[in-house]
Amino acid sequence: MEQSITIELNGERRALTVRTDATLLEVLRDGCGLSSVRETCGIGICGACAVLVDGVPISSCLLLAPLADGCRITTVEGLSRGDELHPVQRAFIEQMAFQCSYCTPGMVLSAVALLAEHPDPSPEEIAEYLAGNLCRCGSYPRILAAVSDAARLMRQASR
């Protein structure tokens, strides 16, 4: 069975025909060619497939695509404007907050959502918020530092 849905994907309106049992992950990755959306655990534990659905980080492996109908979806491809990276991305580079970087898009998106909610999070709040994003390389200390840096950059920019 298939169903038509309309989503706003990285600022662009997209009309898609999806299998009713397709996950949003499959649709974004295979259907829309967004290879930053990655599957690791397949059960909503690891955050590698996290995308923002109406600004909220969601495990796209658990969300059936038809349920995303009418939603605004942001992947890491939608964060940067041309060559201009999002402050969170810049901070990740500055701190070198990754090794293999497979988890990085999900981490960055979760961090963006966190900073939208809490512009000045403590390290404990960052760790708590990002606990659903796993990094097997163990770059966690650098990621914490990067998110703190990004928060500072974004607060300064909004002043």
Binding site: C46, E128, A131, R136, R142
Partner: protein, 757 residues
């Protein structure tokens, strides 16, 4: 990293992202019994599923002419698809190729397999009993035809032991006779899994009798060789291309799914992509579970007179590189100590469990768990400070290891002292908080070999645009290989490393390298790249000297050009020099080898051309009411020699600490009659942000002018052992089995209470 922007924008392409027009998707049918003879496989229903193109069984495989259906890096024991027998729950019984992944998976579920169950064995000691079922019948006249035989292995024919590695040094009987005290203990570690975030992914294409495979593998050349043997091809007709990996930690060492993808592509004549599901990852490769018994002879003044080791490495159903793991673990368990009399029997044993192979730390985590726990038990028995006891026995520069080789550039004591100082070792090693919580400190120090002998080659070239390109078969798995190799070339050529292009491994384009393992690449490949770059520098200087009519010695390389020292106006751009040479590009070749090897019956020889050295120190808090262990501070001090890139070096150390904490505290594959019960990230936990210690620190021990020492693994094995020692100190009882779960800690506390009561 030179690829940082690609990484934060998600644009980097892993092997999982490879695709070709018209490609099919693969799925595997897996055994649900741990040991059985295949009676019948019914593929009819599977073939009816719309979109299914082929279902391949062992019988089909056998009927294909010219194919060698069984492979393995050290012992050829693993069929591409099960032939007569299945040997573990998860063994591949049939393969499906279909137009979509959904169709392939649906069809795989419809393949009906009938098996006559055979007795199964899961414990390595039981597997060595005369009555145990045999998994393989290794033949004495063809013990191994594998291709990676850089060392002799000793299968024990007619048993499940696929390698017995021995060390014989001195006379342990004499050593024990000279001891004031002899202690013995047995230690265990469970199987654990790598859990690389990116699963195994391979794409295979046949064109005009040539095979091309895109795969995230740490071993492009071994994989090429093995694929060539399976399909009866000269190696030149097999090409392995390696995109960057989303983590590996050893699980992508040696062929895993490439033979299966290639077989399906061979049968269907279409490109085939095979990506493992997470539950399949868990039964594809694991870290060896171990049982290690150590007997130690000690003098009252704190010297070690003798060490006797019996080690069992549970390699599961297929040997993979288990024979080598048993060897490296065999000398790893001796530890970095001066011991006159040593006897080690290290056995790699088949059981009906998923295969075990390479895993970050490569045998040393299990080795250190046993030997460094034993060092603390010994110190306690002698009433000595565990730091002081170790320092008395640690090998120093110019001393001889149990393999008979003399060690140079030795920094074990320095690493250990630094680690101890970092957690304030001189302070109280244990104190009670008064509410059932106890804090305590623990230490561990390790030595780890680097693959010896081995070889790395590299090419460095400059084209007419002046662009420098490094050709290397070192794979990028997050360690920053592209960046570090670019830096080493840049240093020699006086160009910014960000402008250097590093070609990803492609056996048709990049020169030979043993493999990206054993923390060898920055050193081995780094030296090959450096050599090639220096040769290129020489050539540029020669050409420029001729053009400028000056002596070579008067020239310098600067910003992509050669000029008379201090005279910018004289600069000739690299591109101009290439043009002047009338070549399209100038390319130079570099090669770096290390030499050695061990006698498998005595363990004497050269185990490693240089040594990875590290120490770990932790402070823990144990809640004695619940058994919960909290890490307050974890520190690792690692000998680096020379650091090439401080960022990537630090990330390796920090990552190793985190990895080690998972292994120390909770990672464990749990089997029920050979069936894995926790093949998912809900039941098998890996460290998250919330598992970080309150403090996590590290340091790199550097020496100007020293050799580069790889850092990819060294800190890891120190952590579980140091945590174990700290917990033992906290609770006054020894947990001899990893991981240190609250249940195990609580049981140890209660057992101790029983003894006292």
């Amino acid at each position: 990293m030179i690829d940082a922007v690609e990484r934060v924008t998600g644009r980097i392409r892993f092997s999982q992202d490879a695709s070709l027009p018209g490609m099919l998707h693969a799925a595997a049918v897996r055994s649900v019994v741990p040991h059985g003879r295949i009676a019948r496989i019914d593929t009819a229903a599977a073939l009816e599923v719309p979109g299914v193109v082929a279902v391949v069984t062992g019988e089909d495989l056998r009927r294909l002419p010219g194919l060698r259906p069984v492979y393995g890096p050290q012992i050829e024991d693993q069929p591409v698809v099960a032939l007569d027998c299945v040997r573990y729950v998860g063994d591949i019984v049939a393969l499906v190729a279909a137009e979509t992944l959904q169709a392939a998976q649906e069809a795989a579920a419809l393949v009906a397999v009938e098996c006559e169950e055979l007795p199964a064995v899961f414990d390595p000691l039981e597997a060595l009993e005369p009555s145990a079922p045999l998994l393989h019948e290794l033949e004495p006249e063809r013990p191994h035809e594998g291709t990676a035989l850089y060392f002799g292995i000793r299968p024990q024919f007619g048993t499940n032991c696929c390698n017995l590695f021995r060390i014989r040094r001195g006379d342990v009987a004499r050593g024990f006779a000279e001891a004031d005290l002899v202690i013995e203990e047995t230690f265990r570690t469970p199987a654990i899994q790598h859990v690389a975030m990116e699963p195994h992914a391979a794409l295979a294409l046949w064109e005009d009798g040539r095979l091309t495979v895109w795969s995230g593998t740490q071993t492009p050349f071994n994989t090429r060789q093995i694929l060539a043997e399976i399909f009866g091809l000269p190696v030149e007709r097999v090409r392995v291309i390696v995109p960057p990996m989303g983590g590996s930690y050893g699980c992508k060492v040696f062929p895993r799914i490439e033979p299966q993808a290639a077989l399906l592509a061979y049968v269907t004549g279409r490109p085939v992509k095979f990506v493992l599901r997470r539950d399949e990852e868990f039964v594809t490769l694991t870290r060896h579970a171990t049982v290690v018994t150590i007997r130690l002879g000690l003098t009252r003044d704190g010297r070690i007179t003798a060490k006797e080791v019996r080690a069992y490495w549970n390699t599961g159903a297929y040997a993979d590189c288990g024979p080598d793991v048993a060897r490296k673990g065999g000398f790893g368990i001796v530890g970095p100590y001066r011991i006159p009399h040593v006897a080690v029997d290290s056995r790699c044993v088949y059981t009906n469990l998923p295969p075990a192979g390479a895993f970050r730390g490569y045998a040393v985590t299990q080795a250190a768990w046993a030997s460094e726990s034993m060092m603390d038990i010994a110190a306690d028995a002698l009433g000595l400070d565990p730091l002081e006891f170790r320092l008395r026995n640690l090998l120093r520069d110019g001393e001889t290891f149990a393999t008979g080789e003399t060690l140079h550039d030795v920094h074990f004591a320095e690493c250990l002292e630094r680690a101890a100082a970092a957690i304030g070792w001189e302070g109280p090693w244990r104190h009670e908080l008064g509410d059932g919580r106890v804090r305590a400190k623990g230490l561990a120090v390790v030595l780890k070999g680097m693959t010896t002998p081995s070889r790395s080659e590299a090419k460095v070239g400059i084209d007419r645009s002046g662009r420098v390109t490094v050709y290397s078969s070192t794979v990028e798995l997050g360690q920053g290989a592209r960046t570090v190799l670019a830096q080493l070339a840049a240093e020699a050529l006086g160009v910014p490393y960000q402008e250097i292009r590093v070609v990803d491994p492609d056996t048709a384009r990049t020169p030979f390298d043993n493999r990206t393992t054993s923390s060898r690449s920055t050193y081995m490949m780094g030296n090959a790249v450096r050599q090639a770059a220096l040769a290129l520098r020489e050539r540029l200087l020669r050409i420029a000297a001729e053009r400028l009519e000056v002596e070579q010695a008067d020239l310098e390389l600067m910003d992509g050009s050669v000029r008379v020292a201090g005279a910018p106006a004289s600069a000739l751009k690299f591109g101009e020099l290439v043009e002047a040479s009338r070549q399209e590009a100038l390319v130079e070749h570099g090669e770096f080898r290390n030499q050695g090897g061990l006698d498998p019956d005595t363990g004497q020889g050269i185990a490693s051309s240089h040594w990875h050295q590290g120490a770990g120190a932790v402070e823990v808090e144990v809640d004695t009411r619940t058994g919960k262990v909290t890490i307050l501070h974890a520190h690792a001090s690692v000998y680096a020699g020379q650091v090439v890139n401080r960022h990537t070096a630090e990330l390796q150390n920090l990552g190793n600490i985190v990895f080690g904490l998972g292994s120390a505290l909770f990672e464990e594959l749990v089997y029920e009659q050979g069936q894995l019960v926790n093949p998912n990230l809900s039941d098998y936990l890996i460290p998250s942000f919330l598992d970080l210690p309150e403090r996590m620190t590290h340091d790199l021990v550097e020496r100007p002018g020293a050799e580069i020492h790889g850092l990819g693994e060294t800190a890891l094995p120190t952590i579980p052992a140091a945590v174990g020692n700290a917990v033992a100190r906290a609770i006054g009882a020894r947990v001899t089995e990893l991981p240190l779960t609250p249940e195990r800690v609580l049981r140890a506390i209660r057992a101790r209470g029983g003894e006292r009561g």
